[in-house]
Symmetry: C2
Subunit: 119 residues, 2 copies
């Protein structure tokens, strides 16, 4: 991920409605959510939501697929990971003390063991 992409991703996440969309989609998991459901969840008019979804999609943070009449959106896990990696890369330029709290955060997350409470 280059600066241009990271910039787009950060800008996308720096907007209330879009951040909520991403959180909703990440929570929803790989199955994703229909545009209408997202609109209801986030509390945004359909017309407006479409604008934000396009922006998030362009930033590589979400993906979409059509299913019948509905369009299903889901989180682009790879894009999110790339963004984290971009932050990590910045943080590690000679200063491990920055990364250590992040490591601790990951350690506290069950993901590191692959044995989550939720799965």
């Amino acid at each position: 991920m280059d600066e241009r992409q990271a910039l787009a991703a950060f800008a996308a996440l720096g907007q209330e409605h879009r951040l909520r969309v991403v959180r909703a989609l990440v929570t929803a998991g790989p199955d994703g959510l229909a545009a209408g459901v997202i609109a209801e969840t986030v509390g945004v008019a359909g017309t407006n939501l479409s604008f934000h979804l396009k922006e998030l999609s362009h930033a590589g943070l979400i993906t979409s697929r059509r299913e019948g009449k509905s369009v299903i959106y889901s989180a682009a896990y790879a894009g999110l990971s790339d963004l984290v990696q971009f932050l990590m890369r910045d943080c590690c330029q000679g200063h491990p003390e920055v990364c250590n709290p992040a490591v601790a955060a990951l350690a506290a997350c069950d993901c590191t063991t692959g044995d989550t409470l939720h799965a």
Copy 2:
């Protein structure tokens, strides 16, 4: 870190000049950089830089201290870590497959060992 703070941080990072400021400060390390030096590095007029520095400071991503005539800015490592933790928290809501690439990214970074090539 709550949504409001994360929003401010993401919005701050979603701006070309501010992202460069943060990268420059993280690279510079705890010693930080004088405002004038940052202006020269990033290529922004002093007046304008002051605006961006205030925004970054308000977002909790940088801190400042006065040293003689100069004001020295440095990266707020805690703030950056909190942001990573916020992303991690979102990613881990029942879906470890999102976090795993991030874990891999950290593993590739020398920070995890505390024995960096740079230190």
